[in-house]
């Protein structure tokens, strides 16, 4: 190990620049990857929180396509349906504060207080209680909303020129519910001046012993003009969107790989050329070809790993800064997540990159004819 470092220290500037090149690529990978990790986390949260819920949308798209109260009544009759929840989601902030949005915005959720536990019951309460049918201007707020507005039980949250008494606070979910202010549906409709027939998002809660997949097919068969999306379909859709995002991240990483990898190839070829005579000496002293290969591969891998560590560190610093400024300013929780698995992935990627880039130089070093190599200056 110290010997590899001594070899690398022979050309400090060149080795340093090569490591820097890899570090830039790894930096980009870390920052983008941390964002991707955040979305993956949200996805996981959503899947575990809503695994018993079927989403309902109009079968056709267009201006005339909308859900009606009669559809709600029909869906209620389907076998296996426990409850049909009309959820209205609207922004909490009356004025748009920022043009850019990172992560979910703060959202008012209008929900029937009698059924709130069916939909959100899987989220534990940090303090207080759920809203109930006797409540009027009351709210249960998400973890981030409580933090940002400095809310405790009994404090008031302002929305639509009214004050809503906080009766409960959700625990930290690392997901969308952190941004919620849950308010009784009729109060939301009244205060936001919406008609009573307004339907936002329809969530169908299935009975505990019913299979959501079966129930969603049943709904589509029995209720015309609606499309039922089972939890599995919702998850598949979200996963597909994740895949697109990951492809972009991977594209950036591949670009970094090509640039950083070529720099390593270049550096290692120059090192082999400079040390031709030395390779000849080592062969004369009885070094096997694989010993020479190992020596140069280790050096390339170490260059990759050092670049990886430097890039990861820089990426982590920038991610923390972004979390502290941009994400916090938008009232969000941490949007860049440098997770342990991302750290492992990024470091193995950087080291693997160095290894692959070292293959050709190492092979050409091992292939040198000792007689010729000893003659070179």
């Amino acid at each position: 190990m110290t010997r590899i470092l001594r070899n690398m220290a022979r050309r400090k500037v060149r080795t340093g620049l090569t490591i820097f090149g890899i570090a830039i690529g790894v930096f980009a990978l870390t920052v983008m990857g941390a964002l991707s990790e955040y979305f993956a986390l949200q996805l996981n949260q959503a899947e575990s929180l809503y695994s018993h819920i079927i989403g309902i949308t109009p079968a056709k798209t267009g201006l005339n396509a909308h859900l009606t109260t009669s559809m709600v009544a029909q869906i209620r009759q389907v076998n296996g349906v426990l409850y049909v929840e009309n959820i209205i989601a609207t922004t909490l902030n009356d004025t748009r504060q920022s043009a850019i949005s990172l992560g979910p915005p703060e959202t008012v959720i209008g929900v029937d207080p009698a059924a709130v536990k069916y939909v959100f019951g899987s989220i534990p309460l940090r303090a207080g209680r759920w809203i109930d049918p006797t409540d009027s201007r009351a709210t249960v707020v998400g973890f981030s909303v409580a933090q940002k507005h400095h809310l405790g039980i009994g404090s008031a949250l302002a929305w639509q020129k009214h004050d809503y008494t906080v009766v409960g606070i959700l625990s930290d979910t690392n997901g969308f519910p952190d941004q919620y202010a849950i308010i009784p549906l009729d109060v939301v409709q009244r205060d936001a001046k919406m008609p009573r027939s307004a339907i936002g998002q329809l969530d169908v809660v299935t009975q505990p012993n019913a299979d959501p997949e079966v129930v969603s097919r049943q709904i589509e068969r029995e209720v015309p003009q609606v499309k039922a999306r089972s939890p599995r379909q919702e998850a598949a859709d979200a996963a597909q969107q994740m895949a697109v995002f990951n492809a972009i991240v991977l594209g950036g990483a591949l670009l970094a790989a090509v640039v950083g990898g070529l720099a390593v190839v270049n550096t290692m070829i120059m090192s082999v050329n400079e040390r031709t005579r030395e390779i000849g000496i080592k062969k004369a002293l009885g070094a096997e070809d694989r010993t020479i290969v190992r020596e140069y591969l280790s050096e390339a891998a170490l260059i990759g790993l050092l670049g990886g560590v430097a890039g990861l560190w820089a990426g982590w610093v920038v991610a923390s800064l972004l979390n502290a400024t941009v994400a916090a300013g938008l009232g969000g929780s941490d949007v860049w997540r440098v997770t342990p698995r991302l750290v492992v992935l990024v470091l193995s990627f950087a080291m693997g990159l160095g290894l692959v880039a070292g293959v050709y130089p190492a092979w050409s070093a091992a292939r040198l004819d000792p007689v010729q190599a000893l003659r070179s200056e």
Binding site: R3, R6, N7, R10, R277, E278, I281, K282, K283, A284, L285, G286, A287, E288, D289, T291, P370, V371, L374
Partner: protein, 218 residues
């Protein structure tokens, strides 16, 4: 290169006994280096056989050659050829590392060899911190430590002052006497050749003379 076949060595028939201290002389291009290269298995002759310690190395597979070099051959070069990033003792330990000796054994043998060449106090120095004569003594220690069958020295004094050159040859002589180590020294310096037991002269790839120094002087 053209179509002409150049024979660097032609019809050389040479028998070296264990424990001999022998020099090979000749002008540049006479085939000295080629002879050394084929004995050390760095190069292969197009025809003929080379028996090294009873093994015909021309018939050994290419992958076996590093092992033969490690076990049978020690090298001393004109330009010392120490690895610049390694300390004196690390340089001496290197061939034994290739031979798979454990760290403790290597270190013991290397320390003994460096003490034998009177460099016990320079073990931790890099080649750039040593004089030419000291570097060549490290190289001698490196060749001796694994106790090979034969030590090949290619112009070992070529890059040294006359009085240091003399000391280096004396050192090699001492190991030849004390340990019965076989030395083949390639040189164009008659003063060096005079200190060996037997002198082979090469001209155009052929042996032109082969005489014992004692006989010639007598």
């Amino acid at each position: 290169m053209g179509g002409e076949v150049i024979r660097a060595l032609d019809g050389v028939n040479l028998r070296v006994r264990r424990g001999e201290f022998l020099s090979v002389m000749g002008r540049s291009g006479s085939g000295k280096s080629t002879l050394l290269n084929v004995i050390s298995c760095l190069d292969r002759p197009t025809s003929g056989t080379i028996l090294l310690d009873g093994v015909d190395v021309t018939r050994v597979s290419k992958s076996q050659l590093p092992r033969i070099r490690r076990e049978k051959i020690g090298f001393i070069f004109q330009q010392f050829n120490l690895i610049p990033t390694l300390t004196a003792i690390e340089n001496v330990m290197l061939p034994m590392e290739y031979a798979g000796l454990d760290e403790r054994n290597r270190r013991e043998k290397a320390m003994a060899a460096l003490s034998a060449v009177d460099l016990a106090d320079r073990m931790g120095h890099r080649p750039s911190e040593l004089s030419g004569g000291q570097q060549q003594r490290v190289a001698i220690a490196r060749a001796l430590a694994p106790e090979p069958a034969v030590i090949l020295a290619d112009e070992p004094t070529g890059a040294l002052d006359t009085h240091i050159a003399h000391a280096i040859i004396q050192l090699m002589r001492r190991f030849n006497h004390e340990r019965g180590q076989t030395f083949i020294v390639v040189t164009h310096d008659p003063l060096v050749a005079d200190q060996t037991d037997r002198v082979i002269r090469l001209v155009d790839g052929r042996v032109s003379s082969d005489e014992l120094v004692g006989e010639r002087k007598a």
